[in-house]
């Protein structure tokens, strides 16, 4: 049965249609889809496993769409050559800051070391974040949720916040979206502007790799 996949498609594309009609950051297709689907599933007593099983094709397409990000990256190759110092410096500092602040704030609010490890990789893409969380002794399924939360932060709040802070340069905007909000921020940036999407996907990859490599060394230091 693929009933719930059709439900997902109908709800998502109606949400996207309406969000293109009424420009409003809260009117985010992903957020609207979640807010419609979860109550419907709960009222009808449909377990998440049933819903997810129906949607395996959509979930499967997540991986190739990450691979597809290579194209906008390639299309902006000359820009990357021009801006490599900004890219490397911003991504390195952003990755470290994201891990340190996320973990320390969580610990301050009474998180166990396991929960802190769960939150640490929140700003990198889901498959990478879950691998890092597992390696540090965290709970990958909850990591998936904080990753979505960090993603929603950028997808919903990113553009208004950039406007408020006068982050106007497409390079800066794209890099910041990718650093803070991984693929979700990248999707929002790519919908907004091709070049922003390219730099966002660049930050997504570089921050993902930096975080995966540094996390096992940084995490024990944060627990001291």
């Amino acid at each position: 049965m693929m009933l719930w996949m059709f439900a997902t498609l109908i709800i998502f594309y109606s949400a996207r249609f309406f969000s293109s009609k009424f420009k409003n950051p809260i009117n985010n297709p992903l957020l609207v889809s979640i807010c419609v689907l979860i109550p419907v599933l709960m009222v009808l007593h449909i377990p998440y496993s049933t819903y997810f099983h129906d949607n395996f094709i959509l979930n499967y397409l997540l991986e190739p769409s990450v691979v597809a990000l290579a194209y906008p990256l390639y299309a902006q190759l000359h820009q990357i050559r021009q801006h490599w110092r900004v890219i490397m410096f911003g991504c390195l500092l952003g990755s470290i800051m994201s891990m340190v602040t996320g973990t320390l704030i969580a610990l301050f609010f009474g998180a166990t070391p396991e929960l802190a490890a769960t939150i640490l990789p929140k700003s990198i893409t889901t498959p990478l974040a879950m691998a890092v969380s597992h390696e540090l002794g965290g709970e990958p399924s909850i990591t998936a949720i904080v990753v979505v939360l960090a993603g929603l932060f950028g997808a919903i709040g990113g553009m208004p916040l950039a406007k408020l802070l006068r982050i106007t340069h497409p390079t800066a905007k794209g890099l910041t979206m990718g650093t803070t909000s991984h693929a979700l921020g990248t999707a929002a940036a790519a919908e907004n502007d091709f070049q922003e999407g390219a730099f966002s996907s660049l930050a997504l990859v570089i921050c993902g790799i930096i975080t995966s490599i540094l996390a096992p060394f940084l995490y024990p230091l944060l627990l001291l």
Binding site: T8, L30, I38, L62, V66, Y71, G90, S123, V146
Partner: protein
């Protein structure tokens, strides 16, 4: 139609080579990231023309947000942890995201405009 099939085949080929690399080396980097890097290298070295990838990848990216819906709905199974650990989860995630966005965003803006200006000055000379 043919250009779509060709780009899909190449994208999936890179993904499955990535999966193979992960399976053999047990590297803690996800297969999709390795596949993306592989495709990027192939494009950058001009081993594959960009036009071969363009159509399929643009289609994937246009609908990428949709593919996050199934995972995101998983939130419904974790309301208990969200409740008991709400403060550390929410403040930790959103607070940190805000700090990183503000600081790194401002820094990126300053660096990007600075280097662009330098580049332009160089061109003028």
């Amino acid at each position: 139609m043919f250009t779509y099939i060709r780009s899909f085949l190449l994208i999936f080929l890179c993904l499955y080579i990535g999966k193979g690399i992960v399976w053999i080396t047990h590297i803690p980097i996800s297969a999709s990231i390795i596949g993306m890097l592989l495709l990027f290298i192939l494009l950058a070295l001009h081993l594959i023309p960009g036009a071969w990838i363009k159509d399929g990848s643009e289609l994937f990216i246009k609908h990428m947000t949709l593919f996050f819906v199934p995972v995101s709905v998983g939130l419904m199974d974790h309301f208990d942890i969200l409740q008991t650990q709400a403060a550390s989860l929410l403040v930790g995630t959103l607070g940190s995201s805000l700090i990183v966005f503000v600081v790194i965003g401002k820094l990126n803006q300053i660096l990007a405009t600075h280097y662009e200006k330098k580049q332009k000055d160089k061109e003028l000379l």
